[in-house]
């Protein structure tokens, strides 16, 4: 597979990508990738203390170009699994995968040769508590590109504009790019964070309850944005809002106490789940 070494730190992918050639949309490989398993979780266990598994026997394949929702009660391990996808859990010294593996774009991401920084360029993350930097709107979006060493003003300008358009924020902020990102409304700040994420052109965007701090209108704006972004990115979203999962996702995975109980198309999982535990959870029954 042509993309199998994409996450390895080679000369080629350490150097900054040419901004106008979106690695995700314009290469002819991407059409193949859309039907490819972009994320493949193989019989995974994970423990924060290296001993007690909070994820158990998780196997899951996520298709390119789809939105996948993770649902389940608090503490069932949704965020933990999401953070395994970009090795965010590595920041916790004792935390580790105790069994199994995760492949992203054909690469075993826990392979010793994989560079997490490089990985996170391909796997972006949007958090529940939107967290713009205390900088201008422009600098928030340009941040990741500057880290990649891009200095050319015209290149940055273009990328900032494209990312803000992509995040559905351009019209609202184009006249005040120098204003602080923190001066925006909650919904706008979240979309600014999404713009910052897509600026570095990841293949995968992970979203951990991205709307739970937003009012209904801002939530609708972000949901609409998710369905727009779907054509360019593979999205995994953790949500507590079932209706949101039914609106935005193609597939849904239901987790309970660290295990994957059911994973199916969203219409099937919410319309006629195969497992009673899923049904009891999604229909608000005791269980």
């Amino acid at each position: 597979m042509s993309s199998s070494k994409v996450l390895m730190p080679t000369e080629e992918n350490i150097s900054p990508p040419a901004p106008e050639s979106s690695a995700v949309t314009s290469s002819h490989e991407s059409s193949q990738e859309e039907t490819e398993k972009v994320i493949k979780v193989n019989d995974l266990n994970f423990a924060y203390d290296g001993k007690k598994d909070v994820l158990r026997d998780i196997s899951l394949e996520i298709q390119g170009g789809e939105v996948t929702a993770f649902i389940g009660p608090s503490g069932c391990g949704k965020s933990t699994l999401l953070r395994c996808f970009n090795r965010m859990n590595d920041l916790i010294p004792t935390a580790s995968i105790t069994k199994g593996s995760i492949e992203i774009l054909g690469t075993d991401i826990y392979d010793q040769y994989v560079d997490e920084i490089e990985l996170r360029k391909h796997v972006g993350m949007v958090f529940q508590k939107y967290n713009p930097f205390p900088k201008s709107i422009y600098e928030n979006v340009a941040y990741g590109l500057r880290i990649q060493g891009i200095k050319d003003k015209a290149t940055l300008d273009q990328s900032v504009e494209e990312s803000l358009i992509g995040a559905g924020l351009w019209e609202e902020v184009k006249d005040r790019l120098d204003a602080s990102g923190l001066g925006l409304s909650g919904g706008q700040q979240q979309r600014l964070c999404i713009a910052r994420t897509i600026a570095v052109q990841p293949k995968i965007i992970l979203m951990d309850e991205p709307c739970s701090a937003l009012d209904p209108i801002s939530t609708a704006t972000v949901e609409d944005l998710i369905t727009q972004l779907k054509s360019k990115f593979t999205i995994v979203i953790v949500t507590h809002n079932m209706q949101q999962a039914t609106r935005v996702s193609d597939k849904t995975a239901f987790f309970y106490l660290g295990e994957l109980i059911e994973y199916d198309s969203t219409t099937r999982l919410f319309g006629s789940p195969a497992v009673k535990q899923t049904e009891d959870y999604i229909s608000g029954r005791f269980g």
Partner: protein
């Protein structure tokens, strides 16, 4: 049926309330059918009038069940079997309304028939009605108990009803040839037999809605075979 209670108790009571309304409506619709046919067989115009008057009550139930369903969809955003139950119950109520309509049609024709000479062929209605009424009763019981096995038996029964219906029409057509004087009565009887056959179709629809609630399978226009293929 998922018997585990909902955390929001009002959700449970609303679903139960909707089902109770459908069962009340079914009792009235079934009663109208019996009144209409008994009115004919016993030459009792009051029974016919009851079947006609009570149709309005069935219509009112249909409207209120739609309202209950809409309210549950709006307030509780039901999913999975709850969603199927609400949508299918609304369809069951539509089919019950049609059954009551057909019963009203039967009653109106019966009133005409009993004002004329009695003909022995009126007895031809008896077995057709018995089978149609039992189809309705079993469809309602299947819905009430969430019994998709029972619901699936309705297909065969309905075919039997089709056979009885065809035979009755043949007999009545023959009677017309022999006895022109009572032509109107025979034509009205043919009409009634047709109504009874339609009622069987509505009972089958109720059975299909029951299977949909219980099995999440759409067996309309395909029959029970679709369920086997699903598995």
């Amino acid at each position: 049926m998922n018997e585990t209670p909902h955390i929001i108790r009002d959700f449970d009571s609303s679903l139960k309330g909707m089902k109770a309304s459908v069962l009340h409506m079914a009792a009235i619709a079934g009663g109208n059918l019996d009144n209409a046919v008994h009115g004919l067989l016993q030459r009792n115009e009051d029974l016919c009038n009851d079947a006609i008057a009570e149709d309005e009550e069935v219509n009112a139930y249909e409207r209120s069940i739609d309202k209950e369903g809409m309210e549950i969809l709006l307030r509780f955003n039901p999913l999975a079997s709850d969603l199927r139950a609400v949508v299918a119950s609304m369809k069951v109520s539509t089919n019950l309304e049609r059954i009551a309509d057909q019963s009203e049609n039967i009653a109106r024709r019966a009133r005409k028939i009993i004002k004329k000479n009695e003909v022995p062929e009126i007895q031809l209605i008896k077995p057709v009605h018995a089978l149609a009424a039992s189809l309705v009763a079993e469809a309602v019981r299947a819905f009430s108990d969430g019994n998709s096995q029972l619901a699936l038996t309705l297909f065969d029964k309905d075919q039997e009803l089709d056979r009885l219906h065809k035979k009755a029409i043949k007999d009545l057509t023959r009677a017309i040839e022999k006895d022109q004087e009572n032509l109107r009565t025979y034509l009205n009887l043919i009409f009634i037999v047709r109504c009874l056959e339609r009622i069987g179709d509505h009972a089958v629809n109720i059975g299909e809605d029951t299977v949909y609630i219980e099995e999440a399978a759409d067996i309309r226009h395909i029959g029970p075979a679709a369920l086997e293929e699903e598995e």
